[in-house]
Amino acid sequence: MMSMSFARHLIFGIALALSIAPASVSFSQPSQGSQSSQATKSPPTSESAHAPQSSIEPITSALTTNQFETAADLTRAALKDFPNDPQLWSLQGIAFASQGKATEALAAFQRALAISPNNISALQGAAQLEFQSASPNARTLLNRLLKLRPNDPISHAMLGVVNYREGNCGAAVPHFAKAGSILDSQPAALHAYALCLVRLKRLDDAVNVFQRTVTLRADDPRERRLLAAVQLMGRRPKDAIVTLEPLLQGTSADAGTWQLAASAYEDTGDTPAAVNALRQAILLDPKNTSLYLDFAHLSYQHQSFPVGISVVSDGIAQQPSSAQLYIARGILLVQLGDYDKAEADFDKAHQLDPNQSLSAAAQGMAAVQANDLDRALTTVETKLARKPNDAYLLYLKADILSQKGANPGTSEFQSALRSARKAVASAPNLAEARSVLARLYLDSGQTREAIEQCRKAIELNPKDQTALYRLIQALQKTGEKKEIPDLLNRLAKAREQAAQEERERSRYKLVEGDDPQSTSPNHP
């Protein structure tokens, strides 16, 4: 899972692109000619008078032959005699829209709708224009269209994008689904659809959508990377490898592709391939910090700390201003018990980037690792004085106090409780903070509150054994035992799975090789 953050960044980068380029998505209307002949669905009002077919045909003919100026002129002339003909106004709207005169076109469509509110053509035209300008009016028009034509794929597609832009993926996805193959002509919309599915954690469905984009744009490596990233997120690393293989076998694989591949290989247990992939990535992009961080993670997982330190040191040589690399190396040094050097790295990280608090957190954790909870607390509290709202530091403080054995009712316990609550409020997705808070609530008899925190931690990570166990304990205390058998099963399964994953991780240990290339600074 080392590139999970990278995968997520890749996916959510699409969001940025879509949000600033609404015009990148546009859905073409059906042929104006055929549509115009069926344009009016509602009966004419008592005040309307329709232009004869002899007036309509020249206009539609001009439109179909792309003589938009002529078509516009013809509609002007016809409207003098038939000012209340919604069809004429619609045709004028189409002519103006085709000329790029959006304002005039919209005005024409709106005139048509004022006369005949359910005029399909006018609704479609106005909706398209409002959609393209990202106007809030687009939603209303599209909804009106769908009432008249519930299965119109274009309307669904546009509503999908509208909802996506508003951040409402829950509403967007059903519309995207009903848009069907229309989306295949709009990669950005297809990406929006897939992105929404990712946000809704419907990863299998997201994979299916991205597979469409890969099929449609087989030559675009970006599509394969996106698909592979989602496959990784959906814990389908073998599929991710299959997706990436054409790129890896060719010459077009960039560092990002190799980085994704490394994560996929590791997740399948093929650590040698993962190491090789990361090596390729580093060769291609030796100044990419995240690659060295991934290697640090890999070496940590395999308890191969010296190799990790060596590689991260190479990274530091390439990027001497990277605070993250100093933090990573410091953490690996802690594992070797080299606390002095680790401390030096954490200090350096802080110098390079005083705004980040991870180095402070790491220093606190190093003190814990060295079995010095008092020093750990002092370190964390010193940093908290400068950054009193840092969620991670607050969580650490709460956990250290709890580990020290603060008893309920004491000032230390109250301090731990306050810190944990504040950490959770600042970072609701910091599962560790919720775990500590749950424990503190259990210790102080606030069982209901403990249950709530455990449930939220489990939402964040359904395999969180600690949260599952504490939830069981809390429910036992309250006598609400109905859920317990299922939770016991889940806990047992989570334990088995964790043991299996550990066995897989432990199959390999990384060592520095004898290959001359492998000992050079850029060759892990």
Binding site: M1, M2, M4, S5, H9, N288, T289, S290, L293, A296, Y300, Q301, Q303, Q324, A328, I331, V334, L358, A361, A362, M365, A366, V368, Q369, N371, L373, D374, A376, Y392, L396, D399, I400, S402, Q403, K404, G405, N407, L430, E432, S435, V436, R439, Q465, T466, L468, Y469, R470, I472, Q473, Q476, K477, I484, L488, A492, R495, E502, R503, R505, S506, R507
Partner: protein, 596 residues
């Protein structure tokens, strides 16, 4: 690209303060670790117990052979064995029974279980041969109980191989009646802990045996062969993780000298997910029926709750005694049983591996346990692999303390990693009376700070002076016999219970003693500590109180009350008859008559 919080947490997982996050990869033992709590300033209160190892002068000079002293190839050599206080001849003086193992390479001379008869003068005589208890093998646990209710305590010993039941003939000898009793197994099994328990309250002691793992020397990998055969990167004997788990057994006493295996019918055999070690039976939910708790290594410990109908339901996880307080497996070995907080409920103390805390579990009286390790300040000690243990009042101040022994399973490790010595001191956690404990090592006498690689230990009053002494198994050394020489004027009371309708040993009897404003519950146990059996005369320290009221609930359900019993004596209580005198037990010498 910024390092995300989540990536940071993943990266620094072993450095995280969360107890569950520090998982040591690549080893065969439970991965739960915990950081030691800082110690508070010493209370400064004097500790009136003082321990001296008198084993040598007492005549306990034969070493307990268990594997090679310098290195173990197999886990079989590492786990060790237990010991027992037993008055096999009913003369009121506790005799000693010390198990032994052997060596893979062959049985060394002198490797045998040993019975030591108490000479009543501070010395013991090795009567192993005369008693018929000479046996060589990989003995593990011992449980003492009068299975045939003839008034003489019998012995059941678990082995890797074949467990054995020895009937006490009443004349100083024992007979191996394993086969006749129907306890001969078809295959080689690793019997670990055991307990006598009258699970169906019919007056006959039934037998529960835990099994550790399925061990086949021809198929076990060698040290260093895989991730379960290394520790801290050093090759060590494999396991228990990676090896098949044992299957536990329950045998019903048919009342005619034979037993029937009812493991499956009772719901015991279906529990196959744990490496069973020490077994304790006690009525944890105080419903009058004995339950069974099994400390398990690197897997969830088991709590079998009695359904009153011949079956049990396993509820260790839901009742809070199977896993650590954060839901992780621990290496559970020994069990201490007692009422540490004087609320009338039986609590548990479980010993674990190094770099983890031992666990103190407070019982609410309904068998719901809360892990109070840290709030009780037990978490200050994580250096040692801990084994035999007890919740016992060592200084007679009326507050049960905690005692445990320790020793490495990797004797060669200290050559490379000096911070993991093979031999460790004993440890006392004295009860401060406010729910917390403080650690004492050197403060309790030279015998506590002496270093050995120990396993089982048993608590009893071998010199009948009213305080608790400790018998300890030391691997490849003679045992230790820690004589307690109390100072001060704290009072005490001992109870010997004799069942009539209940089983003769009164195993499962629950006693609550009220002294002053305090009350304390204990049960007559079969096995506890690590694979060991304590002196079954219940010992209560009374502090400054000189009288006590006693409530007894017999295993068969009868109740008995004794009011205003004077302190500083052993009383014998016979079911249905109250305090009896003139019995062998009650003729035991008064304090000071031991000849010291």
């Amino acid at each position: 690209m910024k390092i995300s919080r989540r990536a940071f947490v993943n990266l620094s997982i072993a450095a995280s303060v969360s107890a569950h996050a520090s998982r040591l990869l690549g080893q065969g033992v439970s991965t739960h670790t915990a950081k030691a709590q800082p110690k508070l300033a010493p209370s400064g209160r004097p500790f009136n117990a003082h321990f001296t190892d008198v084993a040598k002068q007492a005549g306990l000079t034969a070493p307990v052979i268990y594997g090679k002293p310098e290195y173990n190839d197999y886990i079989l050599e590492a786990t060790g064995c237990g010991c027992a206080f037993i008055d096999y001849d009913n003369d009121g003086w506790m005799d000693l029974f010390v198990l032994s193992g052997t060596r893979i390479e062959g049985n060394p001379e002198g490797a045998t279980n040993r019975l030591y008869k108490n000479n009543r003068d501070g010395t013991f005589t090795d009567v192993t041969e005369k008693s018929g208890l000479h046996d060589t093998g990989w003995a593990c646990g011992v449980c003492v109980g009068d299975y045939n209710n003839d008034g003489f305590e019998d012995l059941f010993i678990t082995y890797y191989g074949q467990n054995k039941l020895y009937k006490n003939n009443g004349d100083g000898t024992f007979s191996d009646i394993t086969k006749a009793a129907g306890l001969l197994g078809d295959d080689t099994r690793w019997g670990a802990g055991c307990t006598w328990v009258d699970y169906n309250r019919d007056g006959h002691l039934d037998l529960f045996v835990s099994n550790y793992l399925q061990f086949d020397m021809n198929r076990i990998p060698k040290p260093g062969a895989n991730v379960n055969c290394t520790w801290k990167g050093i090759p060590v004997e494999c396991g228990p993780r990676g090896l098949p788990r044992g299957v536990h057994s329950l045998y019903r006493n048919n009342g005619d000298g034979t037993f029937t295996d009812i493991s499956a019918a009772a719901g015991i055999a279906s529990q196959r997910g744990s490496y069973g070690m020490t077994v304790v039976s006690a009525d944890f939910d105080e419903d009058g029926w004995p339950d069974i708790y099994v400390a398990c290594d690197s897997t969830p410990s088991l709590l079998f709750m009695n359904n009153h109908d011949g079956t049990f339901r396993e509820e260790g996880v839901v009742r809070g005694v199977a896993l650590s307080e954060d839901g992780q497996e621990q290496a559970g070995m020994g069990i201490g049983v007692g009422d540490y907080n004087l609320d009338g409920h039986i609590d548990l103390f479980k010993t674990h591996f190094s770099e983890d805390t031992n666990g103190l579990y407070r019982n609410d009286g309904k068998a719901n346990f809360e892990d109070v390790t840290r709030t009780a300040r037990i978490g200050v000690e994580t250096r040692y692999i801990c084994w035999g243990t007890g919740i016992v009042d060592l200084d007679n101040d009326g507050l049960p303390d905690i005692f445990f022994v320790s020793g490495s399973v990797y004797p060669h490790l200290e050559k490379t990693l000096t911070q993991y010595p093979n031999k460790n001191p004993r440890t006392i956690f004295r009860n401060l009376g406010n729910g917390t404990f403080e650690e004492l090592i050197s403060e309790a006498g030279p015998a506590i700070s002496e270093r050995h690689s120990s396993r089982g230990c048993a608590f009893g009053d071998f010199d009948n002076d009213g305080d608790l002494d400790v018998l300890i198994v030391n691997i490849n050394e003679p045992p230790s016999l820690l004589r307690n020489d109390m100072k001060g004027a704290n009072h005490w009371l001992k109870l010997k219970l004799v069942g009539t309708k209940s089983n003769r040993s009164a195993i499962g009897a629950r006693v609550v003693v009220r002294y002053g404003k305090k009350l304390q519950a204990q049960e007559v146990l079969s096995q506890s500590s690590f694979y060991s059996t304590n002196d079954t005369r219940l010992h209560f320290g009374l502090g400054a109180e000189k009288i006590a009221d006693i409530s007894i609930r017999w295993p068969n359900g009868a109740h008995e009350e004794l009011k205003a019993v004077a302190a500083d004596q052993l009383i014998v209580v016979k079911e249905g008859s109250g305090i009896v005198t003139g019995q062998g037990w009650s003729k035991a010498a008064k304090p000071g008559a031991s000849g010291r």
